[in-house]
């Protein structure tokens, strides 16, 4: 029945193509006549079309194409694009599936497993070479002067990272694709001491001390270009703001300091008081005695060890250094 309607449609199609501009009435007439001719010339005596026991005449299948394939044919012409597995077109004795007991896996003819799995028959090495030959003119060369990562970092210190997503689904878009990470090493920027400290305070968590990399992540805008622009804007603002010195920055207290400095600390006062009372530099008090004491090498060593302890934390070597310095100060 399907073949009959298809034959009718084919005839209809041919008539349409040959006589353009026929109005619908004529087409309808041609369609009906085609149908009546077909039903009259049915080659089955009984039963009628669509009845029980009617078997559609099936044309014989010929020999599979694989038998006529020469060994040195151009495979890229046989499989130019991605196509499902057709066993009669592939001259390979491929078997796939769970083997029959004591036997081999099922053969390729009528094998659903081979049809289901994506095949790479269109991407043989010869095909890849041909494709790349055609694509070569569109590629540009990497500049030969930037062969090492160090040179790249020196000339191009700002790194912008973004991700693209490809997947099959209802939508092509992925909202995570708008996220932009901007990474820059602070040593490459033109910052003085005050600017660097202020920048670190402004930036907070985004700075990694071990690698000296500032990471700005922008994901608040819906488009990647917007997020990139915003991250560059942020970097510019941070840079210029850190060079500014505001009036209230003069109120910086000891608690705000990033590093411990010994000058003017209770430790300095205590050690100088102790030395004056021990009368190490002789009799007398006053500023000159303190300055004289400060100039002493033991006091300098003590200062170094205390600074190291406070900045680096307590570990074996810093504690040893502190012990030695204290012993020297007290002449033990």
């Amino acid at each position: 029945m399907a073949s009959r309607t298809s034959k009718a449609l084919l005839s209809l199609g041919r008539i349409n193509v040959s006589a353009l501009g026929l109005n619908n009435a004529v087409n309808r007439i041609t369609y009906s006549t085609a149908l009546s001719i077909d039903s009259n010339s049915g080659n089955k005596d009984a039963p009628a079309r669509g009845g029980r026991g009617y078997k559609r005449p099936r044309r014989e299948e010929g020999a599979p194409r694989t038998e006529n394939m020469p060994v040195d044919q151009d495979w890229t012409a046989v499989y130019p694009a991605a196509k499902t597995f057709r066993p009669s077109s592939i001259p390979l004795p491929v078997r796939m599936g769970y083997p029959v007991k004591g036997g081999a896996p099922p053969e390729k003819k009528g094998n659903l497993e081979l049809i289901k799995i994506p095949n790479f028959l269109h991407l043989t090495p010869a095909a890849i070479k041909k494709h790349c030959e055609a694509l070569k003119p569109f590629c540009t060369e990497w500049p030969s002067a930037l062969d090492t990562d160090a040179k790249c970092d020196e000339h191009f210190p700002i790194k912008v990272e973004s991700t693209d997503y490809v997947s099959a689904g209802l939508s092509v878009r992925n909202p995570s694709a708008r996220i932009v990470h901007l990474k820059v090493k602070l040593s490459t920027l033109n910052l003085d001491e005050h600017a660097r400290k202020k920048m670190l305070k402004l930036v907070g968590e985004r700075y990694c001390e071990d690698t000296d990399i500032l990471t700005i992540t922008a994901d608040s805008c819906p488009l990647r270009q917007q997020n990139y622009d915003y991250s560059m804007y942020l970097l510019t603002v941070l840079y210029h703001e850190s060079w500014k010195t505001e009036a209230w920055e003069a109120e910086k207290t000891v608690a705000d300091m990033e590093e411990y400095s010994w000058e003017g600390s209770p430790s300095q006062k205590n050690v100088l008081d102790m030395l004056v009372r021990m009368k190490v530099a002789g009799e007398g008090e006053g500023e000159e005695v303190r300055e004289q004491l400060l100039g002493r090498s033991e006091v300098q060593e003590y200062k170094d060890s205390v600074t190291r302890l406070k900045n680096e934390g307590e570990n074996e070597s810093s504690m040893l250094q502190y012990k030695e310095a204290v012993k020297k100060v007290f002449n033990l």
């Binding site: 569109f138 500049p143 693209d164 033109n190």
Partner: protein, 202 residues
């Protein structure tokens, strides 16, 4: 027509390096820097591979346009493919690495992150029978290909080629790390040029 385009394309690497020292690129003071377009644009629509090597006609070089826009430079391009089937990823890895080698792209490392199994335990029956459950799992296999030192145009070409031949049921994530110079407006603080202005205090 072919010779000057080839020459210009070869001069591009030099132009890119020199621009760092002599500021040849047009710069704008605004933060919104100009859009970086690839140096080599393709003619629309892209040719299907079958057409090119069936007829074996050479591509006319006049169809390739070379613009003056500086090419983006990617220090690293990470291609991560995910699938439920490890064999498909093996074949795809062979295809992607061969294509990269043919196009002259340096392949960093190709490795396989650990597979991720998501397991679900559900009740077997529609109603009651809490002690009888059925378990399903979804396995996701990964493959990661790292390409280094690749230009914007080459990256576009390679990624489009590789993405057009993504098999069904395979997803891809591409992480690109682009390198850029320090922009002009960050080279020195702007307060040096405006000494007379009062700095606004907050």
């Amino acid at each position: 027509m072919a010779a000057p385009t080839v020459l210009r394309r070869q001069l591009f690497p030099l132009a890119r390096i020199l621009s760092g020292l002599s500021h040849l690129k047009p710069r704008s003071l605004t933060v919104c820097s100009g859009h970086r377009r690839c140096a080599v644009s393709r003619f629309p629509p892209p040719l299907t591979p079958s057409a090119s090597f069936h007829t074996a006609t050479p591509l006319s070089s006049s169809a390739i346009t070379v613009t003056e826009e500086p090419d983006v430079l990617f220090q690293k391009v990470l291609v991560l493919v995910k699938s439920h089937d490890r064999a498909v990823l093996d074949s795809y890895e062979f295809f992607a690495t061969t294509a990269a080698q043919e196009l002259g792209i340096t392949v960093g490392k190709v490795f396989e992150p650990q597979k991720d199994i998501e397991r679900v335990t559900l009740l077997k029956s529609v109603h009651i029978f809490k002690n009888h459950r059925v378990q399903y799992e979804m396995r996701t296999h990964f493959r990661c290909i790292e390409l280094s030192h690749i230009t914007g145009s080459t990256a576009k070409v390679y990624l489009e080629y590789v993405q057009r031949n993504l098999p069904e049921g395979v997803a891809m994530e591409v992480t690109k790390t682009a390198m850029e110079k320090v922009p002009d407006h960050i080279l020195k603080p702007m307060w040096e040029d405006l000494p007379a202005d009062d700095k606004p205090s907050q």
